[in-house]
Structure formats: C-alpha cells, structure tokens
C-alpha cells in the first residue's frame, strides 16, 4: 500500500513538472482534434498534415516564432485559448462579430463559400424553399450552425448538430440526414472520397450573410496579445506577397482560396 501511494505521488509530481517545463517560449497553436481535410488532419504516423498546417509553419517561420501544433476539441477551442492552454487558433475559424466579443482575430488568411450537399438523385437548392421539411446536419458551434438556425431553422424538420464535420458527413452517407451545410472546400474533400463520390453532390452555395458567415478565416488570439496579432498580420502579408502562400496553396487547390 505504501509503495502504491508513493508511486502515485511521484507520478503526479512528474506530470506537473513535465507540464511546467514544456511551457517555455513556445507558441501553442490549436487546431481542432478531428480530421478536417484538406486543411488539417492526422496521418497514420500521428502527424498533422494539410494546407493549414503548412500555412502555420510558413507564418510562424515568417514571424520568427516557434509554433507547436496542439490538437484541441473544437467545441472547447475558445475556452482553451482564453484559459491559456493554447496561444493561438489556426483551425479554419471564421472571423465573426459574435466570436470577436470574446477573442481577437488576425487579418483573414482564406475565405471560401458555404455550400449545402445532399444525396444524388434528389433535386433541391440550398435555399429555405429547397430545404423545406428536410433534416439538415451541421457541426456544432460553427458559423454554419448559426446560419442554418437563422435561415433554415423555421422550415427544416430538424437541424442536427455534430461534434465533428466528419460525423455529419457519415450520417449523410448513411441516409440519416437529407443535407449537410459546411464550408465548400471541406465538403469537396468529402465528395472526392470514394464514399462521397458514391452518395452525394453539391446542391449549391447558400446566400451570403457576412454578419453570420463572417469575413473569412483568421488566426484566433487572446484580446490582450496585440503584439502577437501585429506580428501575425505582418507575416500573413509577407507570405502573400513573397509567393509562399501561393506555393502552398497550389499543392492543395486549383484556385486561389484567399477570396476577394
């Protein structure tokens, strides 16, 4: 018994000490701990890959900060930032007025349209009329969830919210959903997979609402870290002009995802 207790105490102390040592001088950049291709997803060796991971490396190199990618649950990613578990969010988070009340954002680094996908063979549009009576899936605490509630909430039979985008896609493929609303690029990645090819297609882009859908994706930061924000803004501008941004994007996309 005594030995058990001793080792418990030692294990606890070691845990705390290890945690303390890792805190020095590194910027922890949070991404959602879920596959979100082509932006960020884990590969078989446990490493994170994707456009946003390459972007993070480029921006951090430009800003001369040492960044460590830290996977965090998406629905807790803002609390993780404010409670200092992470120092920045590069998780395809759109800049919205609602989120800006809690955290600060850098300038946008990409902006893509929002789309609705559904099963092949059923014809409908990404409009309130088209989605009438349907079951719509979205990811929890995203701009898409807010948008769907405002525009489609009154007409659809149900809006189902999922922890991860992948789970929503799965339920669409298995027929529990009639439609899924999300960012066009990540939906495209699903539609390009074998499973997506077999079942579904794009039904159209939704009507824009900057108030909800935001002004593109930015790096989420704590409000007080203004120096870091300036650093990142300068770095984003620099990689946009020196061609690094385009070089990274070319290996993932056939068009410019920066948007207008």
């Amino acid at each position: 018994m005594k030995n058990l207790l001793k080792s418990a105490a030692v294990a606890l102390l070691m845990g705390v000490a290890a945690a303390g040592a890792a805190a020095a001088q590194e910027l922890k950049v949070g991404v959602a701990a879920e596959p979100y291709p082509p932006f960020s997803s884990p590969d078989a060796s446990g490493k994170w890959v994707g456009w946003e991971v390459d972007f993070m490396n480029a921006v951090c190199a430009e800003a001369k900060v040492k960044c460590v990618l830290t996977p965090v649950a998406w629905d807790g990613i803002i609390p993780a930032l404010t409670s200092k578990k992470i120092d920045a969010i590069m998780g395809s988070m759109s800049i919205t007025p609602e989120r800006s009340k809690t955290i600060a954002f850098s300038d946008k680094y990409y902006n893509t349209p929002t789309a609705v996908i559904g099963p092949k063979g059923v014809k409908f549009d990404a409009t309130p009329e088209g989605l009438k009576g349907k079951v719509l899936g979205v990811q929890v605490s995203t701009i898409h969830a807010d948008y769907a509630k405002k525009y489609f909430g009154p007409v659809v039979s149900e809006i189902k919210e999922y922890q991860t985008q992948d789970e929503a896609n799965q339920d669409l493929a298995s027929g529990r959903l009639d439609a899924v609303q999300a960012d066009l690029i990540t939906l495209q990645a699903f539609l390009d997979s074998d499973q997506g090819k077999a079942c579904c297609e794009v039904k159209g882009n939704v009507k824009d609402d900057p108030e909800i859908l935001g002004a593109g994706v930015g790096i989420g930061l704590r409000k007080e870290d203004t120096a870091l924000k300036d650093k990142f803004n300068a770095a984003i501008k620099a990689i946009r002009t020196n061609g690094t941004y385009d070089k990274i994007s070319k290996s993932y996309f056939t068009f410019d995802i920066y948007g207008k």
């Binding site: 080792s7 845990g15 884990p42 078989a44 446990g46 404010t82 409670s83």
Partner: protein, 240 residues
C-alpha cells in the same frame, strides 16, 4: 481482409502505432487516476470515520457532489474552469502561469472522481472489520499508524478488493471521456483514424478489442491480488 490488416499495421501507412500510442495514454491516465483516487479514498475514509464533525461534513459534500454529477460534466468543469482557476491562483501568488497538460488534467479528474467512490468503498470495508481486532491492536499499545498498517489495512483488504477492482475497470473506461477535451487517448485516436480512412468498423472493433484486452489482463492481476489478500482465510460471504 488484406486491406484491413494493412490499415492496422504498426508503421505508417497503417494506424496500429497510433492506436497503441492512444492505448498507452489511456493506461497512463487510468493508472495515475486510480492511484490518486486510492490516495484520496484512504484519506477520505479515515476522515469520515475518525475525523471531526467539520471534516466529516466536508467529505460528505465531496462524495455526494462527485458521485451526483455526471463524470463528463466534471471533466469539462475541471479541465477548462480548473486550469483557469489554477492560473488565477498562481497570478495572485505572483507566480508565472502553468500549463496543465492533458495528461496531468486527466489524471487529476479521474483521480477526483475515483477518490469519491473509493472513499465509500474503503469506509465500508473498514467498518466490516470486527471491532475486537482493532481494540486488540490498541490493547497491545500500537500507535494508531502502526495499527492501521498492521491490522486495519490488511484486515479490510478482503472486503475492499471487489469494490476496488470494479473501480479500476471503471477507471480504464472513464479515460474515454477525455476524448471530449481533445486528449489523444484511445477513443479519440480511434475516431481520428476512422474519420480519416473511413474504415469505421475496423477501427472501432480494434479499439473494442484493446479495451477488452485491458479488462482481461486486469482480471488476471486482480485474481492474483485477491488470492494473496485472502490467504489463510475463507472468502468473506462465500466458499474459498
């Protein structure tokens, strides 16, 4: 079948290594949490049995609250609000803020939850010892600590073991709840592997087998411990 084995192979592009990494993380949390729980439980049981009225009331509040609130909710509270509170305390004391790793937070959360349950298990077990044995220890002039080590702990162990082994099995599976805070234990890495490869059946079955494996191995160990604790006596409440 070949494709399935390929997906589960230990090195990239197979995900077997990632799954095993998750298993190790799960076991670390379960083990650390369980030991911390035992520590809290021993103190808690002692406090409930022999503490003053204030200590007893405080412990009653602790066990009631922890056992009354879903573990998922506790994990969310302790992980997010807990870190914030620790850092605010550190700031008040003029110390730099610490970063609580997922592992440390996980061990702490599971430990607090397990502590409440093991307090009750151990308290019940101590109460099951015939009072004459403890009185005899006192009559021999043993100090309370010596009596605890030589009489109370060994005598209560047979009564506590069934409850404690249950708690261990629960601890191993409670680690799956840490997936919600993004801690890379077995369940979360399984979901990531399944989501990336779309091979849901393969990976969830593999994870199920790993969890089952923990339980089977644990059962062997528990049986060995029980055998040792019960040496020289008939099994309480049943045949030897």
């Amino acid at each position: 079948m070949d494709a399935t084995l390929h997906l589960l192979s230990l090195t990239s592009p197979g995900w077997g290594g990632v799954l095993l990494g998750g298993l190790v993380a799960s076991l670390q949390v379960a083990f650390g949490g369980y030991l911390l729980g035992l520590l809290i439980g021993t103190g808690g049981a002692a406090g409930k049995l022999w503490g003053g009225p204030i200590l007893r009331d405080l412990l009653e509040v602790y066990t009631t609250v922890v056992r009354g609130v879903p573990e998922l909710v506790l994990i969310l509270i302790l992980y997010y609000a807990g870190t914030d509170a620790v850092n605010q305390l550190m700031a008040l004391a003029g110390l730099p803020s610490v970063d609580i790793s997922g592992l440390a937070a996980g061990i702490f959360v599971i430990g607090v939850v397990q502590g409440a349950y093991s307090t009750e298990v151990l308290r019940g077990a101590i109460l099951s010892i015939p009072p004459g044995q403890i009185e005899a220890a006192r009559a021999y002039g043993m100090s309370p600590l010596l009596a605890l080590r030589r009489v109370t702990l060994p005598a209560m162990l047979p009564f506590a073991l069934p409850g404690l082994s249950n708690l261990w099995l629960i601890a191993t599976k409670d680690t799956a709840l840490l997936a919600v805070v993004g801690f890379a234990e077995l369940t979360l890495v399984t979901r990531q592997a399944a989501g990336t490869t779309k091979a849901y059946m393969t990976f969830f079955l593999a994870a199920g087998v790993l969890y089952l494996g923990i339980t089977l191995v644990s059962n062997l160990v528990i049986r060995a411990i029980e055998k040792r604790a019960l040496r020289g006596m008939t099994r309480p409440g049943g045949a030897a």
